[in-house]
């Protein structure tokens, strides 16, 4: 480091000794006329040069009349100007259409030349997400940004998405990157049900209207994110909304999309055997209906060959295969309409943009709908030469009806369709949902299941969300080299969630009917003040900022619930005999001070440093203050060595180090007592919470570093961006599960460390580029591995998630998210040991896989020909495993296609008899095998599947209608696009199982598949008109 500085100083002094004449001027963007800070002004043929300051001003001295000045700025075309007699040279640079997005928005919304950054960032342009309009804009990023892993849950319209940036670094918590909209961090927690049931209430990211987004920048490492404090520990996704500054005069944009969603993949069911057990019909009971208990109501009955029999309703019927796929019969084609209009205007001093968008979606599950309206207003004005203000208001109102019940939830329609005996006609189930007494009719006695048609009609939920976002910022240019920005933003969300179920089905409120309503409010208020000083001297450009941040997060909720309805079809709390209520309130405040500094020299060396101090109310008073810092270095060696040419146009190496601290959720440091909800008791009952607080908590710390390079060849027609990174997160705050004999279930403490390392590569190619035809392609590869270095000493492992004997664990020395479950009982040679009865047996609990892919990414190919463009995206994942209990369950119920094996002959388990040592020859019935192995013995070896896949993720075909045709009708531009998303699997080793299927968006959500709703694909058309 010192050597480098010495070299730099040597260079400066050598330059200083040559001065003869000086030239100054301002450099502007040719189109917007905005000043361009940081433009390199170089003397051709020498290493001499200066950068332009924040207002685009430069002064260069020590030159003469014959000097040719080279004005270069990444993302712009380079200009060369002979000095001659001029002493003031103002320059307007033209954007270089060929260059690849080199100006990026970075932390604290500072626009930076990407070349100057010492860490990995990737910016995504509107055409990548605005056309293929996803309800959750983040889904459009899948496969497009290296390091980013996005999985959309199968949880109905407006479901949440699992988002990981560079894998998992903390054991506790969502591990989701921070999302910052126009400088205001928004709460971004994962959501969803789990394999045992529940619903997915979506995440905050679906409240970002793709139409209003100008760009999305992904800041990957902690070095990039340090400016956001601990919130940015898992990386940052910066969303910048459109501000109206790009259009002169008044412009109107109308955008309309129509999408159709249909089922893409369903489990394959057998269609040969109907209800019964061990090959026999279920015995007919006293009520004239077959015995509907297990296993009689499974699909292990006789072969369906047109026999006469008594069906589940007790009616005489013919026992023959029912045609069709019950999923496709039950679910419908979903539709979505999105219509938006935006007005924007620009005068010399002010600009504004106002937009309104309406989205109406009918999901594939009948009754599952979304109605969302977004109003967005943004305006900015230069009040004076020195003062610029910018303000924004967004209001989003969304209503989702009937978010589907998931996993083992009684009303999960996919669960019931998967398990329904194969001779049951859906039509019969639909026409027979209640008996004369108003009680639900179904085909089994299991009171944890519903008839899906009863559930459709009688189980209801409605989720209303009102989100208000307001932001205001001001920039005051105090002097030429000093400015202050102030920014404050508020994010206020009100939700109102109602559920109810009619009486008559045991699975819902014991048949009594029930209701719940909860409303919650949450507010986060974030304010920053930042002063920035910039100074050029002797070829150096120095920028230093100091700032302070105040952030408060808080909220409250009130819930009421009741069961035992008094009159039917009336859903208010007064209608219930047994009622309860609760309220809750929380608040957390963090205030911070920070400093940012940047030194650059010659347009080829950039050194950034950040230091920040956070003070959090969630930590105990003695330990509530913590520091972090980051250092980032960017070195454009191609420029430094003067080896840039058309062939090798860019060579950059970068390095970054960051230490980031983190606090925790509030109220984990003090012991307390809760007063129990009791309505009928004449005495008070209080409880001690199950988690032991810790008055000595300290902040958790992560240390991370990364190195990377960016190389451009043939004017960026080949561009490679490579990063290697490592992060060590220590003293993680978590609730460590402790022995129940302590009286408590967990203890909040600093325990455990995770090491996360990997690399990301983004390769962009432009194989063909001419006036008529362009083909560019992108390839991203990410490999990320998180290893658990240690956990609390008292524990062997921490179970992150579990289902039916399979657990996802964090175990010291192993990968985070290792899947454990029972193997078969085997001898020393690995041969299965079979009992005299012919049954396999449970053996050791072993590592069955890992939730993490070996590597993943996407391949995009974009073609444009005259007015046509075609964009394709293929996403892929190699490695990683998941547990499908859905498969195990269907096998047990005899509905899965794989359960057909051995129906007539029995199954002979492979292996040797445990007593004789001879090869097993005892056949067992498939029912007994599947029930015993899957349910009684919990053998999981054969229910773990490879999550590798290649998916045709996106296809967009756009046509720009020629302007000539439009001008006559007053339209300035029109684009028609056809969009297809999640089209099909190009490669999927498991055929009928979707490796991405999940019931939520937690880090481990994709690892445990159970009764997932069918995966869907979407087609649509999009029309955009500019007036």
């Amino acid at each position: 480091m010192n050597k480098l500085l010495l070299t730099l100083f040597a260079i400066i002094f050598s330059i200083a000794s040559y001065s003869q004449k000086s030239v100054s001027g301002q450099i502007l963007d040719q189109e917007t006329k905005d000043p361009l800070p940081g433009v390199s002004v170089n003397v051709k043929g020498t290493e001499k040069g200066v950068p332009a300051d924040f207002d685009g001003n430069y002064v260069i001295s020590g030159i003469d009349e014959n000097t040719i000045l080279v004005f270069s700025f990444l993302g712009y075309k380079t200009q060369e100007i002979l000095v001659g007699s001029q002493s003031i040279i103002n320059v307007q640079l033209e954007i270089d259409a060929q260059s690849l997005d080199e100006v990026v928005i970075t932390a604290l919304d500072i626009e930076r030349d990407k070349a100057s950054l010492g860490y990995s960032v990737q910016q995504v342009e509107p055409e990548e997400f605005a056309v293929a309009q996803e309800n959750n804009v983040m889904n459009s990023l899948q496969g497009k940004v290296s390091g980013l892993q996005i999985t959309q849950g199968n949880t109905g319209v407006d479901g949440s998405s699992r988002i990981l940036l560079r894998g998992v670094t903390t054991i506790d918590g969502s591990n989701r990157p921070l999302v910052v909209i126009d400088g205001i961090p928004v709460s971004n927690s994962s959501s969803g049900g789990n394999p045992n049931g529940g619903i997915d209430r979506g995440d905050a990211l679906s409240d970002i209207n793709p139409e209003d987004v100008a760009s999305i920048t992904v800041l990957k490492g902690a070095g990039a994110a340090a400016a956001y404090g601990s919130l940015g520990m898992h990386g940052v996704i910066l969303v910048t909304t459109k501000s109206g500054t790009t259009q002169n005069g008044i412009g109107v944009t109308v955008n309309s999309s129509f999408n159709v969603t249909e089922i893409m993949l369903t489990p394959k069911l057998q269609n040969e055997y109907g209800m019964g057990a061990f090959g026999a019909f279920s015995p007919i009971g006293g009520d004239g209906r077959p015995n509907l208990d297990y296993p009689s109501s499974w699909s292990y009955g006789p072969k369906m060959e047109g026999q006469d029999y008594v069906n589940w309703l007790g009616n005489d019927d013919v026992f023959s295969p029912r045609d069709g796929n019950p999923y496709k019969e039950f679910y419908q084609t979903g539709y979505s309409f999105t219509n938006g209009v935006a007005f924007e205007g620009n005068t010399d001093e002010s600009s504004f943009r106002v937009s309104i968008t309406n989205q109406n979606t009918d999901g594939t599950i009948p009754n599952n709908t979304l109605d969302k309206n977004t109003i967005n207003f943004r305006a900015s004005s230069n009040l004076s030469d020195k003062l610029k203000i910018d303000g924004k208001v967004t209001y989003i109102k969304s209503k989702v009806k009937n978010r589907p019940e998931l996993g083992e939830g009684a009303a999960n329609t996919a669960l019931q369709l998967a398990l329904m005996p194969r001779d049951v006609r859906l039509e019969d189930a639909k026409n027979n949902i209640v008996d004369a007494d108003g009680n639900e009719i179904k085909w089994n006695l299991d009171n944890t299941f519903n008839n899906p048609y009863w559930a459709l009609k009688n189980v209801y939920n409605e989720d209303n969300r009102d989100r208000f976002q307001g932001a205001f910022s001001a920039k005051w240019d105090v002097s030429d080299n000093f400015y202050i920005t102030g920014k404050t933003g508020l994010n206020y969300v009100v939700t109102d969630f109602t559920t109810h179920a009619a009486a008559g089905a045991q699975a819902q409120y014991n048949g009594l009917g029930g209701y719940s309503n909860s409303s919650s409010k949450s507010t986060s208020w974030n304010s920053d003040i930042l002063g920035t000083y910039t100074k050029d001297f002797s070829g150096f450009n120095v920028t230093a900022s100091v700032g302070a941040n105040y952030r408060s997060d808080g909220g409250s909720s009130i819930s009421v619930w009741g069961s035992d309805e008094k009159v039917p079809d009336f859903y208010r709390i007064s209608n219930y005999a047994v009622v309860g209520d609760s309220d809750y309130e929380w608040e957390k405040i963090v205030y911070s001070f920070y400093g940012l500094g940047q030194v650059s020299y010659g347009g080829y060396v950039y050194l950034d440093a950040t230091i920040r101090n956070d003070n959090s109310s969630a930590l105990p008073a003695d330990n509530d203050s913590y520091w972090y810092h980051s250092e980032n270095l960017s070195f454009l060696f191609s420029k430094f060595f003067g080896i840039e040419s058309d062939t090798f146009n860019k060579g950059k190496v970068r390095a970054s180090y960051a230490k980031v601290g983190n606090d925790t959720s509030p109220y984990r440091t003090q012991s307390s007592y809760s007063i129990d909800q009791a309505r009928t008791l004449d005495y008070t009952v209080a409880s001690i919470p199950g988690s032991l607080p810790n008055p000595n908590l300290k902040p958790e710390v992560s240390h991370s570093w990364e190195v990377g390079t960016e190389l451009g060849f043939f004017n960026n027609r080949i561009h490679l961006d490579f990063t290697y990174y490592e992060t060590l997160t220590e003293d993680q705050i978590m609730a460590v599960p402790i022995s129940g004999s302590s009286g408590f279930s967990s203890y909040t403490t600093n325990a455990g460390s995770i090491k996360n390392k990997g690399f990301e590569t983004q390769l962009n190619l432009v194989p063909i580029q001419n006036d008529k035809f362009t083909w560019d392609m992108g390839l991203s590869i990410t490999k990320s591995k998180s290893t658990v270095e240690s956990i609390d000493e008292s524990l062997e492992s921490i179970t992150l998630n579990s289902l039916m004997g399979v657990s996802i664990e964090a175990r010291p020395g192993e990968e985070f998210g290792t899947i454990y479950g029972l193997d078969y009982l085997r001898d020393n040679f690995g041969t299965k040991l079979i009992t005299d009865e012919g049954l396999a047996q449970p053996g050791e609990r072993i590592k069955l896989g890992s939730i993490n892919p070996d590597f993943y990414g996407g391949i995009s190919n974009n073609f444009s020909f005259k007015n046509f463009s075609v964009r394709t995206l293929i996403s892929y994942q190699s490695g990683g495993e998941f547990f499908s209990w859905g498969r195990g369950y269907r096998q047990m119920f005899g509905t899965d296609a794989t359960s057909l094996e051995g129906r007539e002959t029995g199954i002979i388990e492979e292996g040797i008899n445990e007593n004789t040592g001879f090869e097993n020859t005892v056949p067992i019935s498939p029912l007994l095998k599947n029930y015993t192995n899957n349910f009684v013995s919990n053998i999981r070896k054969d229910l773990i599947f490879d999550a590798s896949n290649v998916k045709f993720k996106e296809l967009v075909i756009s046509y720009d209608i020629p302007k000539k045709a439009l001008n006559s009708v007053g339209i300035q531009g029109a684009t028609v696009s056809a969009v297809g998303r999640d089209l099909f699997f190009i490669y999927n080793p498991n055929g009928d199982l979707d490796p991405d299927a999940s019931n939520g968006s937690s880090p481990t959500a994709t690892a445990l598949e159970h009764a997932s709703l069918p995966s869907t694909r979407t087609y649509g058309i999009n029309l955009r008109l500019n007036f």
Partner: protein, 492 residues
């Protein structure tokens, strides 16, 4: 002008920063406290919680999934049936039972014991009452698992013990008896005003009934030791007989759960998996024309009492027409059914056993036996005429050899403990009555015990990992962590 502006600006910044720093520190302090909970509390609400947990603990998974089926009272369907096959793959349930007792009764009563013995808040009467609750809670845990953390158990908060050491069951039993004796001594003469006048879910602060229950509990513990330490057993029995015991159904410890869905058996009878009463239980009641049959068992859809056989293997179960068998009786399993902790009938039966075995006094034994039956019938509101008839039947008189009388007594006690199935299973483990034969029939599942009735719950794999050293020590003393390893007092 420019200069002035700069100065003004600098002042502003200094003021602003100063303001921000000072006000922030205060603000952090303001929001640090959890507004949803209280930070200090009287011990009464915690006592009420522990006492209620004791009652609801009799309905826990240990009773429902295990003891009810081990005790051959009923067979549960679907997933809940597996314990009936004597298998042991119930790690989650074992963990749940164990944690449930510690986090319910023990954690809260431990806090009460600390609060009522701290100098500022000391109250020996409340302490004595709480200690009875603690003793009953610990007895329940050790009867299920054998050795468990006792001296250090439940002290995560009060003494920061996160990995408590285990104690032998012998030590626990001895200490529980001492604690009960001390409580009896205190409560006999205590001023009720110092008890829990407004927050006693058990006896509404009736200290006489507390004394009777504490003493009856001591008697139960003493009789548990009959086969493992007869000398001590007899000594404690003698002490117990010198103090008041439960003698009337008015002394019974019961609670009616009015919160939530009420008595958990209601949900289990009406919900899924269903519960069908056993052939053994129905056979016993039907064969003796016991009027409690209609109380404990519902008629099936055809108007008959049909039982489900315990222990069937999957194939035999599939053929058994389980769904059409008799449900649990409505008086046992309604929302407002009483939840019994201990009843007078049990104490009469124990006293009959004492008379028969320790005192060698068959006449007194028979008297007490009959009083036990009468108390049980009255407990379930059987009408007087039916009681008279039943008491006149041969079932209600002890006859035959001592062993035969013991079996008769054991069988009646098994019935009378309904629906406290956990105590029913403990009773069978202790006395061997009613006899549960080893399963040899090919239709029956032998499970992990070769068909022998399981004798304990396992330490869960979670306990083995989170408190492994201590649990391993216990296993070294007690025997392998298996469901057929007998616990200390289990000698039959």
């Amino acid at each position: 002008m420019k200069k002035l502006q700069n100065i003004a600006y600098k002042v502003l910044v200094v003021l602003l920063v100063g303001f921000v720093v000072t006000s922030c520190e205060d603000t952090l302090e303001d929001v640090r406290e959890n507004p949803n909970n209280v930070t200090s509390i009287d011990d009464a609400p915690l006592f009420a919680n522990a006492a209620r947990s004791l009652f609801n603990g009799t309905l826990d998974e240990g009773s429902y999934r295990f003891a009810g089926q081990y005790g051959h009272y009923y067979v549960a369907g679907s997933t809940a049936r597996q314990p009936d096959q004597y298998t042991d793959g119930f790690d989650g349930n074992y963990n749940g039972i164990y944690n449930g007792m510690y986090s319910g009764v023990i954690k809260h009563i431990e806090e009460v014991l600390v609060l009522t013995s701290e100098p500022e808040t000391a109250n020996p009467v409340r302490y004595a009452i709480a200690d009875v609750v603690a003793a009953m809670g610990f007895a329940r845990i050790t009867d299920g698992f054998g050795e468990v953390p006792y001296t250090e158990g439940g002290k995560g908060k009060t003494e920061d013990i996160l990995t408590p050491k285990y104690d032998t069951q012998e030590f626990i039993y001895n200490d529980l008896i001492d604690r009960l004796s001390q409580s009896i001594n205190v409560l006999k003469t205590a001023d009720p005003a110092m008890g829990y006048p407004d927050s006693d879910p058990v006896f509404d602060n009736d200290l006489d009934r507390w004394v009777r229950m504490a003493n009856s509990m001591r008697l139960r513990l003493a009789m548990r030791m009959r086969f493992v330490n007869p000398t001590l057993s007899q000594q404690v029995v003698a002490l117990c007989l010198s103090e008041p015991l439960m003698e009337d159904n008015a002394h019974n410890a019961y609670m009616i759960e009015t919160e939530g869905q009420g008595n958990a058996w209601y949900g289990r009878r009406t919900g899924f998996p269903s519960i069908k009463m056993s052939t053994m239980f129905i056979g016993q009641l039907e064969g003796t024309a016991d009027p409690r049959l209609s109380v404990f068992v519902e008629k099936d859809g055809n108007g008959n009492y049909t039982g489900q056989k315990n222990g069937l293997n999957d194939e035999a179960f599939g053929q058994s027409d389980f769904a059409s068998k008799s449900d649990m009786g409505i008086p046992l399993s309604s929302k407002d059914s009483k939840i019994f902790l201990m009843t007078a009938s049990e104490i009469y039966f124990l006293r009959a056993e004492i008379a028969l075995i320790y005192d060698n006094n068959p006449t007194e034994a028979n008297n007490l036996y009959r009083m036990g039956i009468e108390a049980s019938l009255e407990q379930w509101d059987i009408d007087a005429a039916e009681i008279t008839t039943f008491l006149a039947s041969p079932t209600a008189t002890l006859t035959g050899s001592v062993d035969e009388q013991e079996e008769q007594l054991g069988t009646q006690m098994w019935i009378a403990l309904t629906p406290n199935y956990f105590e029913g299973w403990s009773h069978i483990r202790r006395t061997g009555y009613p006899v549960i034969e080893q399963r040899t029939d090919p239709d029956l599942e032998k499970g992990a015990t070769n068909g022998i009735l399981p004798t304990r719950f396992l330490y869960s794999s979670f306990e083995m990992s989170s408190n492994g050293t201590n649990a391993s020590e216990a296993i070294n003393r007690q025997g392998a962590n298996k469901i057929d390893t007998p616990i200390w007092w289990d000698k039959n």
